[in-house]
Symmetry: C2
Subunit: 266 residues, 2 copies
């Protein structure tokens, strides 16, 4: 058997199993980008957040006890995806793996470069609409409590809401108005991609974190396509069912947080 | 011709051209991760930083005048890679595209999953050893001058140097000691990958930005494999030639910056 054939066989035999999401229980967090992708595709998956004692599994990876094999490097932080023998981390990396498998990279069968366009959009959404909001409540250090960096947080939020948030929303509105977005409500090639699911989750988290600012931005009408995308994703049957069901966890003290002092109009 | 055949033909005909890196002149910045990848591979490329008036090309993308076609979404920020008709942005995304083409993803020919492991390592290095150092001098807002956020920056640097920097270096030392790193000085499968080049550039930038802290960490000996990787990459013939040559730009007020008040031992 050629080495290519052997590899293909190995892939098949190891991967005829459900996906396993390894992530902290109790918050949607960064795991939610992956959950929405799995849910939209109707993929079979096991989620440590839904399993009793699942947190022990998370801890085994965080402490470096797992993985401990010849093919998977240690991981830095959850979310982690285990699929057969494969163990990978980093949100955009997991999405990159799942996207083409789950039919969420439009046109990738004919044009492999479609992957880099969807990945680019997902990375930009995660940078500006997920990592930066996180840093709003932890501008100095992730290891300190919010209460120990409240002053700096307040200042960062003011800039974020006035400058960065409209800049990123404006960028995605521009993407939605571009020729490359095609017809319909989605970012790329006229079809749903995992970048749309990422953007949906970012907007949902931002609406929770900055309700006044997001309401004002919606009312102004400058980002109408973006809010249409939000509605379109939220109305997709599998997403709608998931959002209303028991697996969707509530926002609390995770990535997107509500603090009254953050709730400014901008 | 099948659609697959047509796509393959289109790819070939459009991509028999040099790579085009579109990035700001005057700083190594985020463009440097891409330059090192191209240089190590001996790839032919055009760099706007080395072309008179190259900044106009960068600005055309930043202003959204380019790209303006049916296949490439607008870009948010440089670095940008143009290759034939393809235009993509986001540092880890560009590396993901270049890596397999330039032979910098060990074993990917036999095991496509190798890509996700190298991408994971590159993303983690960029997060903790490039984006976080950037945020050290801009903890409140990218749009403000450093001078307008000096107090917050000082506090962030203290935490970064004492907590985050050793945490990330410790993680990569753990990767280098793992079974998955294989024999030799590199992160994955015993061979050079683009993640090693990313990590090299991060360490090089950190040595410039935090000379005392990096010297202390080196002297302590807890990260000996990491500093061996740094030396091994720096001694590779093409990298060594590039680093000593005219295309390597000096650090100044970009991603990695030297401020006396940042130069603490930790």
């Amino acid at each position: 058997m050629s080495s290519e054939g052997a590899a293909a066989k190995r892939q098949r035999s190891n991967k005829d199993v459900p996906y396993n999401l390894i992530y902290w229980p109790g918050i949607p967090g960064r795991g939610e980008f992956i959950r929405l992708t799995l849910e939209e595709a109707g993929a079979e998956y096991v989620d440590t957040a839904q399993v009793e004692g699942g947190v022990d599994e998370v801890m085994a990876y965080v402490k470096g006890e797992k993985p401990d094999d010849k093919t998977n490097p240690p991981i830095f932080a959850p979310p982690i995806l285990k699929h057969g023998d494969l163990v990978i981390s980093q949100t955009p990396n997991i999405l990159l793996y799942l996207g083409p498998r789950l039919g969420l990279v439009p046109g990738v069968e004919d044009d492999p470069d479609a992957l880099y366009k969807v990945n680019e959009l997902a990375l930009t959404a995660l940078d500006g609409l997920s990592n930066e909001p996180h840093d709003c409540h932890h501008p100095i250090a992730s290891e300190l409590y919010y209460e120990d960096q409240k002053e700096e947080a307040k200042r960062k939020v003011e800039h974020y809401v006035k400058t960065r948030l409209p800049k990123f929303l404006g960028y995605f509105e521009r993407v939605l108005n571009s020729k490359a977005s095609g017809e319909g409500p989605y970012l790329y090639a006229g079809k749903l991609s995992y970048a749309d699911l990422v953007l949906f989750q970012c907007l949902d988290g931002l609406k929770f974190m900055f309700p006044k600012a997001m309401a004002k931005l919606n009312k102004e009408g400058k980002h109408s396509k973006l809010f249409e995308l939000y509605d379109a994703v939220g109305q997709r049957p599998k997403i709608k069912e998931y959002l209303g069901g028991p697996r969707r966890q509530k926002y609390s003290s995770g990535l997107y947080r509500y603090y009254e002092e953050f709730d400014i109009e901008g």
